[in-house]
């Protein structure tokens, strides 16, 4: 038997658990839920001609395609992340990670950042995993360092970067070092000054109990819907910004120096493209100086509108409001430093 964690749900549980009124509303709520799903599908079917008319407008069609593309592209990675997260919830005993991992931030944070090399995937998958690691007793600062580094420095991303910049291995090296430094520094800053209380672990509540497989299933189901829902918000935001703000608007800003640097970082935040693809996009900005393109590749996997939505949904809005700006600033500084040194 595995009893999965439900710490901060304890209060909720006491409030709702034995209340007969709640039982009634629960089961009514469930029927209502299924009814709503059916209704939405039906309504969409009725309004189909309207949708088709909308898609005849190029801007709306462009938005819809980018939106659906981000969601479809993220699904395999999200499923991978959710599976790993649910597996950890079901099969890793509650205190194991806390016992075997170093507890000193100065050791744990760099180690976790470096461990990001081992998770091939893009950023959508690493959010549920990091949340689960915190839940299982990993030092939050270390889990956050892992969250930032995994999408940026895994082998698939590095190989993609090498392909996008043929004959320029220094770009791959610069990306690796700048991302690792940024993830470690953010982790260490969080360890010193961050408020772990801000990590509202909405996810802890659900897991349920029973044989490991059933815990795994319940967790996966919950994480998938939760992360998936926020992914939708992020994808819609990114698609809107991509449609409304043409890339050329930011590129023309990208003449030189600091302005180019800021413009490319901003572009990385609003484009929200997969970390496995961003090197190819960075390569297409031929007029932009190399350090600014590096910033695009370092910032993108760590801060973008899709990730901010996922982080806000997983760890709470108050957390994301501090963590995202901190990460953005550190990632920009790190790529400025490494960019002007190596590129």
């Amino acid at each position: 038997m595995v009893r999965a964690v439900a710490d901060d749900a304890a209060a909720d549980g006491e409030r709702t658990g034995e209340d007969p009124e709640h039982f009634v509303s629960r089961s009514r709520g469930r029927d209502l839920g299924v009814a709503i799903v059916a209704l939405v599908v039906l309504a969409a079917a009725l309004f189909r001609p309207l949708l088709e008319d909308l898609l005849d407008r190029p801007a709306i069609a462009h938005w819809a395609t980018v939106f659906v593309a981000i969601v479809v592209q993220a699904m395999p990675f999200l499923v991978l992340g959710v599976t790993i997260s649910a597996g950890v919830a079901a099969f890793v005993p509650g205190d194991l990670l806390a016992r075997i991992l170093p507890s000193r931030p100065s050791l744990a944070v760099p180690a976790a950042a470096a461990a990001g090399v081992a998770l091939p995937g893009c950023e959508c998958g690493s959010v549920p995993i990091a949340a689960r690691l915190v839940d299982r007793g990993m030092l939050p600062a270390a889990a956050l360092a892992f969250l930032l580094s995994a999408p940026a420095i895994n082998p698939i991303v590095l190989v993609a970067t090498a392909v996008a910049f043929p004959g320029r291995p220094e770009v791959v090296v610069a990306r690796f070092i700048a991302s690792l430094i940024a993830a470690t520094v953010v982790g260490l800053i969080w360890a010193r000054t961050g408020h772990d209380g801000l990590l509202r672990m909405t996810r802890r509540r659900t897991v349920g109990e029973g044989p490991p497989l059933s815990v795994m299933m319940a967790t996966a189901q919950h994480d998938l819907l939760n992360a998936g829902g926020f992914l939708i918000i992020g994808a819609a935001t990114a698609a809107t910004l991509q449609t409304v703000v043409p890339r050329s608007a930011l590129e023309t800003l990208g003449g030189a120096g600091v302005l180019a640097f800021v413009a490319m970082s901003g572009l990385a935040v609003i484009m929200a493209i997969c970390s496995e693809a961003d090197a190819f996009v960075a390569a297409s900005f031929t007029a932009v100086p190399m350090p600014a393109r590096l910033a695009f590749m370092v910032v993108g996997p760590m801060v973008d509108v899709k990730l901010i939505a996922l982080q806000a949904g997983t760890f709470g809005r108050a957390f994301a409001a501090r963590f995202a700006p901190l990460t953005l600033v550190v990632a920009m500084l790190s790529s400025a430093l490494i960019g002007w040194w190596l590129l």
């Binding site: 469930r30 659906v68 893009c122 509540r205 939760n226 829902g229 991509q242 997969c274 190819f280």
Partner: protein
């Protein structure tokens, strides 16, 4: 929202599987991602099915879905892409995004090409290769051979049009266009966003956009793999 959640997962899985097996997914992501989408779709479908069955079996026990919190409600948003994809699959990216940003850099890492040897048949190639050949040795490798390019019309002009096709690395969100200028047309120019196969010969010129002097333009249906 256990039963409703299971239903949503079931629908997501079904939509992903449908996208994969109809080939429609090629409009949104790299065609190589097909197997991964199928695996993810199947996993989500089975997860939803199991959750739904379990929730129905435990329908009398309120404990089954004992955690209906606000955090779960966001999952409803997943119905948006489900509804969109089940009913009207958004089209492939078209001319709207061309000219709104950088185009593919044909100079970066362009290979050195062998000269084409004409055997009378037009040589099909990607717009990217056309651009790279045009850049390398000023297009000498074309050797006067007839070339066949497939893409969509991005912009029409007098006596020709801009032919474009997107390169994608991961999904349509990272699409970057490659553009070739098609010249030498008399009479009607195909409208914007029409997919065409153009046959013609490379035309040297000082233009940053490589040129193809067309001998034939054939309207076609959008291909299954619309990106390069």
């Amino acid at each position: 929202m256990s039963a409703a959640g299971g239903t949503i997962s079931l629908l997501i899985g079904a939509v992903l599987l449908r996208l994969t097996f109809t080939g429609t997914y090629g409009r949104y992501v790299r065609v190589g991602m097909g197997p991964w989408l199928a695996v993810a779709g199947l996993a989500v479908f089975l997860l939803g099915l199991a959750t739904l069955l379990r929730s129905l079996r435990h329908s009398s026990a309120a404990g089954a879905d004992a955690h209906d919190h606000g955090a779960d409600r966001v999952g409803w948003l997943l119905l948006a892409p489900i509804a969109a994809l089940l009913l009207v699959a958004p089209p492939t990216l078209g001319s709207y995004g061309v000219g709104r940003g950088a185009t593919v850099d044909v100079r970066a890492g362009a290979p050195v090409f062998d000269d084409l040897r004409g055997n009378g048949e037009p040589v099909p190639m990607t717009l990217l290769e056309f651009g790279q050949r045009a850049f390398e040795r000023g297009g000498a490798s074309f050797n006067g051979a007839e070339i066949e390019l497939t893409g969509f019309v991005a912009e029409t002009e007098q006596g020709g049009f801009e032919l474009a096709r997107y390169q994608i690395a991961c999904c349509a969100a990272d699409a970057t266009p490659v553009v070739v200028r098609v010249t030498g047309l008399f009479g009607d120019v195909p409208p914007r966003d029409r997919w065409v196969t153009v046959t013609g010969v490379f035309q040297p010129g000082g233009d940053p956009i490589p040129r193809l002097a067309a001998t034939a333009v054939l309207a076609i249906a959008p291909p299954n793999d619309p990106y390069e």
